[in-house]
Symmetry: C2
Subunit: 319 residues, 2 copies
């Protein structure tokens, strides 16, 4: 029997990665390219589509394409004014891929794709209400309610990174101040460590969150405090988030999560302390169960796999 494959494409400011996935979440073929090498999005679509067509193995067909992209709008299939991409304005990326590959294409932002990936292939299997927080250059979030990602009236719901947690706090790239991502993203962690170790007048020298982790494990007090304070704020934000959708679990994804207990312990402590009584002891804060190298492709591909399993659940049993 001819079997289904789904392509997952993750478009980032620097790199675009893609792969062909099967129903079990195995990635059969990987590809990647530099997004910045393609001044026109149509050139990128053409290149990626040709690569995908070339590598579909005998006995398989392409059942659909999922795309994760910054500022991706699920309803319209567009990338809209993404500050980290060189392409200007509103780009109908889903339509471009659909014409080029002749199949269904679903697009959303990378954090929403991560949430669906967690539900289809990761730790949120069987969960109907959960949140995924992605910690990277920024802080993204995908909120799932009743088994569906919350997109809101305009397709842009789930921006927990831009909740103002410290009014009048740190300046954010969005033009406002005190946003969660200025404290709790990988960049926020770097800023915190920088504040602790450099005098106000020194030229900013930021080291990576990986290096801060190395220093913390080597006993650097400033580095340890940095994770402690990051966890304190993140725990408060997660506790506040529970008051909106009361999830069963919150998954943390991204580089800083590799710090393990150094970040998770203060986060969980602050989380439980700041939770309203009725939620206490009920809600898990967990690291993502997706492999970091595969997550972007699997997350994007799961946009289609989720649709296919809903439409035709018995196929899931067969394969």
């Amino acid at each position: 029997m001819i079997q289904q494959l789904v392509a997952g494409i993750d478009i980032g400011g620097t790199n675009t990665v893609f792969g062909l996935t099967d129903r079990q979440g195995k990635i059969l073929v990987y590809g990647s390219l530099k997004t910045t090498d393609y001044p026109s999005p149509l050139d990128l679509v053409k290149h990626v589509s040709e690569k995908i067509k070339q590598v579909i193995p005998e006995g398989y067909y392409l059942a659909g394409v999922g795309v994760g992209a910054p500022n991706g709008n699920y309803y319209k299939g567009t990338i809209e004014f993404a500050p980290n991409l060189k392409w200007f304005g509103v780009i109908p990326m889903a339509d471009y891929f659909s014409h080029s590959l002749g199949c269904r294409v679903v697009l959303t932002n990378d954090a929403n794709a991560a949430a669906i990936g967690e539900m289809v292939f990761g730790g949120a299997k069987g969960m109907k209400n959960f949140i995924v927080i992605t910690l990277g250059t920024g802080l993204g979030s995908g909120i799932v309610v009743n088994g569906e990602v919350v997109y809101g009236h305009d397709g842009f719901a789930g921006e927990i990174g831009h909740v103002i947690v410290i009014p009048g706090g740190r300046n954010c790239g969005c033009g406002r101040s005190g946003c969660v991502e200025t404290y709790c993203s990988a960049t926020g962690i770097k800023r915190t460590y920088h504040e602790k170790t450099q005098s106000a007048s020194a030229t900013p020298v930021y080291i990576s969150s990986q290096e801060i982790f190395n220093r913390a494990t080597a006993g650097d007090e400033h580095a340890k405090e940095t994770f402690e304070e990051t966890g304190n704020i993140l725990g408060l934000v997660l506790a506040n988030s529970v008051a909106y959708t009361s999830p069963e679990a919150i998954f943390l994804f991204g580089g800083p999560v590799k710090a393990g207990d150094l970040l998770l312990n203060p986060t969980r402590k602050s989380f439980e302390e700041n939770l309203l009584n009725i939620y206490k002891g009920k809600i898990k804060v967990l690291p993502s169960q997706l492999d970091e190298n595969d997550a972007a492709i699997l997350g994007a591909a799961s946009l289609i796999w989720k649709e296919l399993s809903v439409k035709n659940p018995e196929v899931k049993m067969e394969s």
Copy 2:
């Protein structure tokens, strides 16, 4: 043709009100009693049920009962550890009414009932994504996503009143500090005015938010500042809330909303200032379109009317 009626029952700490409603949101019969006169919830159920049976007019039958109650759990139909009720523990209120009246009974908290009431009979007709905020002794919220109230994994989602907006801020009845409701509920407004007008050592004398409104319109600067500051915080909270579910509109309900522009102007100003760019200019902040006297009963009854209109939409056209 025999027509459907739905009873709406709103159980409050002081009073319980109930009424029979028709499909157009007209309340045919009203009733009320003192909740505190009933030391056992079963006595209250018996009394209300008898009253309802007595007043069903000829040509109608009772198609269902909707109940709004503090700490109401939609999934279980229970009232759970409600601090403002004298009844102890977990009360299976929906089961009680169902046995007593022999029909479908749906129960949720009063703010969720208000949200469904707004959707079925008020300003949110036709909207799929919106939020209702109820300003009273506390601050309640009902969040609607894709046309359904968000209940979360445990039935207790939508507690925006207990989001911590000012870490380390005012003590809250929930045992924590800095919760939204300590600033933005009617009680919060009273506290703000009190802080402005009494010295720290004086015995607290709180005046009603209605009286603060009267003083503000008469030119009292402290009273005007009170509404200004309440709006500043409420606007920030609403802007943060948008980052979760990106609603089309946010409806404000309750006594303080009668202050009109005195509260709405600073709220809307702060809301727009604190909104992330992608949401700016898209989301309305509106007073509830439900009549305050009818809202509790209509909200509760709408729990059933919404189900009936989904199951049997053509009936809606007939009646």
